[in-house]
């Protein structure tokens, strides 16, 4: 089975801190995604990557950056955390083509105080 693992389920950080959210997948997927999930807004794409060192902005990239140095790992970075970044963050991976399906991690509930 495909496994997508996010480093933390719950995280509490202070305003202004630099925050790293890590995501690892074990199925050699080309695509990796970071979403933010808020009630009533569904899943909004922050960034995605279709290959090592490649990244594309999604719908809400402001205040975030990403890093993909290895195929299996995709990191989301909050450069200076703010209270409006309190949210659920979901990582996903998929093949680029063929039998396409998004596999999700368990989510990280980030609270910025």
């Amino acid at each position: 089975d495909v496994k997508v693992t996010q480093s933390s389920r719950y995280l509490v950080k202070r305003t202004g801190e630099k925050v790293f959210l890590e995501c690892v997948q074990d199925m050699d997927h080309e695509n990796m995604f970071w979403y933010r999930q808020d009630p009533g807004l569904g899943l909004r794409l922050i960034y995605f990557s279709y290959d090592v060192k490649m990244k594309e902005k999604g719908d809400i990239p402001e205040g975030y950056s990403v890093s993909r140095e290895k195929k299996e790992r995709f990191s989301l970075i909050l450069e200076s955390a703010s209270t409006n970044q309190t949210s659920m963050y979901l990582c996903a991976s998929s093949l680029f083509q063929g039998v396409v399906e998004a596999f999700f991690g368990q989510g990280t509930r980030l609270t910025v105080v």
Binding site: G42, Y50, G58, V100, A102, G107
Partner: protein, 111 residues
């Protein structure tokens, strides 16, 4: 621009009954994928059913089936013989090099 619309924020169904969740989407492509994902209260998002746009036959997975109307850009999910474990948030999604998600429908199953 690609959009996915779920117009029912909340739905409820009696146990053992059938419920249909609605989804419409917009795309200019002819080749794409559509999905329904389920997110139970435990949060792990899992795939319920997938439909390739080039296939005319509606996908089915046990008690779950879809009504795919390509011309109308409609993709509804039918859950038959609803069970308590079906209670969850359901998201409709479109894939064209990236995934586009709707805002979700919260399904309650009444015993």
């Amino acid at each position: 621009a690609q959009t996915v619309t779920q117009s029912q924020p909340e739905m409820s169904v009696q146990e053992a009954e059938t419920v249909t969740l609605s989804c419409t989407y917009d795309t200019s492509e002819s080749d794409y994928y559509l999905f329904w994902y389920k997110q139970p209260p435990s949060r792990q998002m899992i795939l319920v059913i997938r439909q390739e746009a080039y296939k005319q036959q509606n996908a089915t997975e046990n008690r779950f089936s879809v009504n795919f109307q390509k011309a109308a850009k409609s993709f509804s999910l039918k859950i038959s013989d609803s069970q308590l474990g079906d209670a969850a948030m359901y998201f409709c999604a479109l894939y064209e090099n990236q995934f586009y998600f709707g805002t979700g429908t919260s399904l309650t199953v009444i015993p």
